[in-house]
């Protein structure tokens, strides 16, 4: 039996890494990316236009320099010789003004462009972050953190370069080209036609560049993501890498990925390194063509030599900014390829969807009901087949069973880490799919089997349970799980940094700190998944005592292999292969002499 098909499946890494896209996909991906770019730029159109205006002004000021020199020599000099210095003073004054204006506008442009770029980046960062937080675990399991990081770092870097490098040039370049072309047509429209003809190979070259660089940039993005994934994973598992002597192998593997990245970069340089001189070549050929054609007409006598000089200089000048345009186009290609990846991540749908019209849950009682629940991870085998279960509000239920039986899975359905493939999970009679995330998290909190601490202080880590908690409340929670003494023994007490992943504290201490979070969160339903497995026995007992008071008036699901933990439960569920084998008060089950009784006996033996 397999899980219900037709469910939304997250994209896995392999699909994300694909660079050989068929035409349709390639178009769609590109459109998605450009759409995102448009979305980001549209609200900033005003600011962009302002920045553009600044560039135009500073370019005009720069261009006016030679004209002013011309004016000074042509008119101010003769006037001065006549004894009239006013013209010189005026021209000089205008030149100074132009210098000041040009300089100020150029500087202002840098500021304005940075403001736009940074606000786009901030928004995109936030969007990606929020979206990755919303995405379901199913997605994260295959996408891996390295990929998310690469979306947030190196992909955004490409976008930033677009703003940094290309955008400045494009406005002034285009402007210069249009002006020059206009002047050329004015001087001699026939030569202007030569220019138009030259645009054909330029366009063809650009098409070629677009196709080739699009592919190469995609490869570059993929290669960079792979490199990051490998890096992150190796750093995370460094202890195992060293202990099992994988340094050489990992080094080789990383070197291989590094080569792939280098190859991708080389290909890009290669394509770009032909595109740019190609553009220059077309420009220079056009100048030669214009020379031949114009020269011919000079010989024929239909064009005079002075006009030919002007024509040639204009043609040459027309192509001067084309390298800048090429660079902009290159940066754009890079950014679009990066945004393809980012937009791909943003287009990913969470498989656990927030309700559009949530049922409010103002004061949850904590009654849990599973109706006919079937669940399997992805397309994998069914883990929980048709489960029916009711946990009345306030009850403490212990979930026991062999490893891999589906205990954590059941807990993850109740906390809605995943949605049931079939059937419903109800909290106070409301389908959890109809409860808003905020309400659900306020009502149901889980201490996961993996005790994860964030780098940061002990206090911050505990306060994750309830960010608005006072220091006294944080301390009270720490006391309740018996970790307060340990924390105060740390060099900076509650402000001590626990280091990456809580590496500063022992694994038992890590569990206690995670536990303290849950104490602080104070939810209606508390799910504890193997929350004390790494504790010493005295510590476990202390926690047990704390729990007894904590759980008095709330629903709790306690998953534990250590049956000592189960003592405080009102009810025990024995889960095997996703089915409830036994269900009853601990004492009754022991008396009945079934599975639980056997487990209990084995446990007694093992601790003696």
């Amino acid at each position: 039996m397999t899980a219900a098909t037709g469910r939304l499946r997250p994209t896995d890494a392999r699909a994300d890494d694909a660079t050989d896209l068929d035409r349709g996909t390639s178009r769609a991906v590109r459109r998605r990316s450009l759409h995102l770019l448009g979305q980001l730029l549209r609200p900033r159109a005003g600011a962009l236009a302002g920045a553009g205006a600044l560039v135009v002004i500073s370019t005009l000021a720069q261009v006016s320099g030679p004209l002013l020199v011309q004016a000074a020599i042509d008119t101010a000099l003769p006037a001065l010789r006549e004894g009239d210095p006013t013209r010189l003073v005026v021209v000089g004054g205008i030149y100074v003004l132009a210098a000041v204006l040009g300089g100020l506008c150029a500087g202002a442009y840098v500021r304005a462009a940075a403001r736009v770029a940074q606000s786009v980046l901030l928004e995109l960062r936030r969007r990606v972050f929020r979206h990755t937080q919303r995405l379901s675990l199913e997605f994260h399991e295959s996408y891996t953190s390295g990929r998310v990081i690469s979306r947030q770092t190196s992909d955004l870097e490409a976008l930033r370069e677009l703003f940094d490098g290309g955008l400045t040039g494009v406005v002034s370049s285009l402007m210069l080209m249009v002006f020059t072309a206009g002047a050329l047509f004015y001087v001699d429209w026939r030569s202007g036609l030569v220019l138009l003809v030259a645009l054909v190979p330029a366009w063809l070259l650009t098409r070629w560049f677009q196709r080739r660089s699009q592919q190469s940039y995609r490869e570059q993005r993929t290669a960079s993501a792979r490199l990051i994934v490998k890096f992150v994973e190796t750093m995370t598992g460094m202890r195992a890498v060293q202990a099992f002597r994988r340094e050489a192998t990992d080094d080789a593997e990383y070197g291989r990925l590094g080569e792939q990245y280098r190859d991708a970069n080389l290909r890009i340089f290669g394509v770009n390194g032909r595109y740019q001189p190609g553009l220059v070549l077309i420009g220079n050929l056009t100048v030669a063509a214009a020379l031949a054609y114009g020269g011919w007409r000079v010989v024929e006598g239909t064009l005079d030599v002075g006009a030919l000089v002007a024509v040639l200089l204009y043609v040459k000048r027309f192509f001067q900014p084309i390298q800048q345009l090429g660079m902009f186009y290159n940066a754009l290609q890079s950014a679009v390829a990066a945004l393809e990846k980012v937009s791909g991540l943003l287009a990913e749908e969470p498989t656990v969807v927030e309700p559009s019209d949530p049922t409010p849950l103002p004061s949850p009682r904590g009654e849990i009901r599973l109706q006919d629940v079937t669940f399997g991870y992805g397309d994998g085998p069914v883990v929980l087949p048709r489960l029916d279960l009711t946990i009345p509000a306030g009850q403490t239920v212990a979930l026991v069973g062999s490893t891999g039986a589906g205990k954590s899975t059941l807990a993850k359905l109740v906390t809605r880490f995943y949605d049931a493939s079939a059937g419903r999970v109800l909290l106070d009679g409301v389908d959890v799919r109809d409860v808003s995330g905020t309400d659900l998290r306020r009502a149901v909190v889980m201490v996961t089997q993996e005790a994860y601490l964030f780098s940061g202080s002990v206090r911050e880590n505990i306060a994750l349970g309830r960010p608005d908690a006072t220091d006294a409340e944080v301390e009270a929670a720490a006391r309740a799980v018996g970790v307060h003494e340990f924390v105060t023994s740390l060099p900076e007490g509650y402000d001590t940094d626990v280091n990456k992943r809580g590496g500063r504290v022992s694994s038992g201490q890590r569990q206690l700190l995670s536990f303290a979070r849950a104490f602080l969160a104070d939810p209606a339903v508390l799910v504890l998944d193997e929350a004390t497995s790494s504790l010493d026995i005295p510590g476990e007992r202390l926690v047990q005592r704390g729990l007894q008071t904590l759980l008095a008036d709330r629903t709790a699901i306690i998953i534990a292999h250590r049956l000592s933990t189960v003592d405080i439960a009102d009810r025990v569920l024995v889960l095997e292969h996703g089915r409830v084998l036994e269900d009853g008060a601990p004492a009754d089950l022991v008396a009945a002499g079934g599975r639980y009784a056997a487990m209990q006996a084995a446990w007694r033996d093992s601790v003696a």
């Binding site: 720069q62 000099l77 210095p85 010189l88 210098a99 500021r111 940075a114 940074q118 901030l122 960062r125 936030r126 972050f129 990755t132 675990l137 998310v148 990081i149 770092t153 890096f231 190796t234 995370t236 598992g237 195992a240 202990a243 099992f244 002597r245 080389l266 340089f269 290669g270 001189p277 190609g278 220059v280 220079n284 100048v287 020269g295 000079v298 030599v305 000089v309 040459k316 397309d379 062999s402 490893t403 954590s408 995330g437 201490v447 993996e450 964030f454 780098s455 940061g456 202080s457 911050e460 306060a463 994750l464 023994s489 280091n499 206690l512 497995s533 010493d536 026995i537 292999h561 601790v607």
Partner: protein, 620 residues
């Protein structure tokens, strides 16, 4: 609010490494890596200069050709006069494009090669640095060095460096030409260069600091992203995605402000680089026209002066961009060397001793261990013998230092004082590779990788082993760890198990980690609380299997519970940083109150020793 990464890195002194060096000195550290690429870089530079010259020459040549030979030929009605000028322009045009092509081709290899080489160097160094380094350095900071910083460096090598040199040469030559041809007018222009240099220098100093801040902050940001994904289960379980976003936004906002500040500096220098040369030219214009009127200067010379000045002003403006690019690269180099120059305190000895066949006798003599020099020791005078082929359980309270002690055996940490010996040889006198081949660990947290079950289990098995042998090891170790569940996975042992193995259940992960340690067939096996995630039945089964494997292998088994202790021949009790008692489980139960307190589950024992809780906790 979820805690965020720290901006300060404990390993780095308050002044970041290399920041006291001049930019040149800092970049010079790259020389050994760049040297092989140097000829190409220089050739690329020459090509770049050639291309700029060609670009400058073309308009001039056009003008001269058209007004000279072509006009003369046309006057004579001779179409053949067209040929030579056209061909000359064509040749120059081809030359310019060719030189650009050449430059790009020449520099792309060095640029990317240096980047790749540095990246590998960094990674290789990180692979060598011990756990104590990795514990403290945020992953994002390392990652941003490896990707963002080295990317910056590549771009600088490929574009910035050449542009810097070409611009500088153009400016210097241009000014020299001005001074040589226009005399004092050239000197006036030169005077204008003085404030530019001063401003550029002051800008460099300020910009460097901001660039450093910005690169550090983006490293922190990467770190927050990493933690937000690794810790996503916790964030989801507590519904703290919103808070995480908020604190991430705070950090990103900080970075944004830094970037804006950076741009502000850049803007100032851009303004100055535009304004000052142009304003100087305005002054020159007035002075020049005046002196031309006085007859001291010809009109032609005046025009030539401004043509040359126009050529210089472009590169001056570019200098602003290239300068900041250079400073960014410099910061990147600093950050890179900060890690690469971190000495590895845990290295192979200069003259390693050979192990030969390992008997597997481990002795710890008077071992003390501190994580930080200014903190009380975690281990303080540990003496412990693990006779060859025996199994010893290590028992102690949470945080007593069991895992720390265990990490000393494969030398993932080094003792602060005292010694750990394998077969009588100090582990520091052995190659780490040899030592770790003899000693395998199952960590308390499984630490799996997102590859197949097979690769995870065979992690410590030599790749050179024949395939059937590897296969046998795989299956036998999976068997011992009772990890038969892998055969029910969609692709059996070839199923990928998700990042950190998180698509498996807790007990399944632990058994894979156990199988991995066993598959390495070590002489010394360290098992850190290996059964904590197993149910009683599975635990029994694994224990049975393990007993067979452990027979003949020296093992240290860290245990919290009697069931795990049962694996061992004898038990060592760790308390207050030393081994307080050694004996069999029964013996210790009978005579050691602390041991009873630590492992006894029965309520009576606990009550009897409750007063000890207070004592121990005070001691802790």
């Amino acid at each position: 609010m979820p805690p965020t990464a720290r901006a300060d890195r404990p390993d780095s002194p308050s002044v970041p490494a290399g920041s006291d060096l001049s930019t040149l000195a800092s970049l010079r550290r790259l020389l050994p890596t760049v040297r092989p690429a140097l000829p190409r870089l220089v050739a690329g530079l020459v090509a770049a200069l050639g291309a700029s010259l060609a670009a400058l020459a073309i308009p001039r040549v056009l003008q001269v050709l058209v007004e000279g030979p072509l006009a003369a030929g046309a006057a004579a009605g001779d179409p053949a006069a067209l040929l030579w000028p056209t061909l000359a322009v064509l040749a120059l045009g081809l030359l310019e494009a060719g030189l650009i092509l050449l430059r790009r081709t020449l520099v792309m290899y060095p640029g990317t090669r240096v980047e790749a080489a540095l990246r590998t160097t960094l990674f290789r160094h990180l692979l060598q640095l011990p756990a104590s380094f990795h514990d403290r350095w945020a992953g994002g900071q390392l990652l941003s060095r490896s990707m963002t910083d080295l990317g910056l460096l590549r771009r600088w090598l490929v574009f910035g460096l050449l542009q810097l040199v070409v611009s500088t040469i153009t400016v210097v030559v241009g000014i020299a030409v001005l001074v040589a041809t226009a005399g004092w007018l050239g000197l006036v222009y030169l005077v204008g260069a003085v404030p530019v240099v001063v401003i550029a220098y002051r800008f460099s100093r300020r910009y460097r600091v901001i660039a450093r801040t910005s690169q550090d902050q983006s490293g922190d940001l990467a770190n927050t992203v990493e933690e937000s994904v690794h810790g996503i289960r916790v964030l989801k379980a507590f519904g703290r995605g919103g808070d995480a976003l908020e604190s991430f936004t705070g950090q990103a906002e900080q970075l944004r402000r830094t970037e804006i500040r950076k741009a502000g500096n850049q803007a100032t220098v851009t303004t100055a680089l535009h304004l000052i040369p142009e304003a100087t030219l305005a002054v020159c214009l007035v002075l020049g026209v005046w002196s031309a009127a006085e007859g001291q200067l010809t009109v032609g010379a005046l025009a030539a002066f401004f043509l040359t000045a126009a050529v210089i002003n472009g590169p001056v403006v570019d200098l602003g961009m290239t300068l900041s690019m250079t400073l960014n690269a410099r910061t990147a180099v600093d950050r890179f060397f900060e890690v690469v120059e971190t000495a590895n305190p845990l290295t192979d000895p200069a003259e390693p001793r050979e192990l030969g066949t390992v008997r597997g006798e481990v002795t710890l003599r008077d071992v003390t261990f501190r994580h930080e020099a200014d903190e009380p020791p975690v281990l303080d005078g540990v003496d412990l013998d693990l006779p060859a082929g025996t199994t010893t359980a290590l028992v102690g309270l949470t945080g007593s230092g069991k895992s720390t002690l265990a990490m000393l055996l494969p030398r993932l940490h080094d003792v602060t004082t005292g010694s750990v010996r394998l077969d009588g040889v100090d582990v520091r006198d052995l190659r780490r590779h040899d030592l770790r081949r003899a000693v395998a660990v199952a960590f308390e947290e499984p630490t799996l990788f997102s590859t197949t079950v097979r690769e995870n289990v065979l992690l410590g098995v030599d790749d050179s082993l024949p395939a059937p042998e590897r296969e046998r090891l795989l299956h036998s170790s999976l068997d011992v760890a009772r990890a038969g569940f892998v055969h029910d996975l969609p692709q059996g042992v070839d199923t990928r198990i998700g990042e950190e193995g998180l698509s498996l259940s807790g007990g399944q992960r632990q058994r894979l980690a156990l199988a991995r340690a066993i598959a390495a067939r070590p002489r010394v096996l360290v098992l850190d609380d290996p059964l904590s995630a197993l149910d009683v039945t599975t635990e029994e089964a694994v224990t049975r299997g393990l007993r067979e494997v452990l027979a003949g292998t020296t093992s240290l088994v860290i245990a919290h519970r009697p069931s795990t202790v049962a694996l061992a021949d004898r038990v060592a009790v760790l308390s207050d940083g030393r081994i307080s008692a050694v004996g069999t489980h029964r013996e210790l139960l009978a005579r050691d109150p602390h041991y009873r307190y630590v492992v006894a589950s029965l309520e009576e024992d606990w009550v009897a020793h409750e007063h000890e809780t207070d004592l121990t906790q005070e001691a802790r």
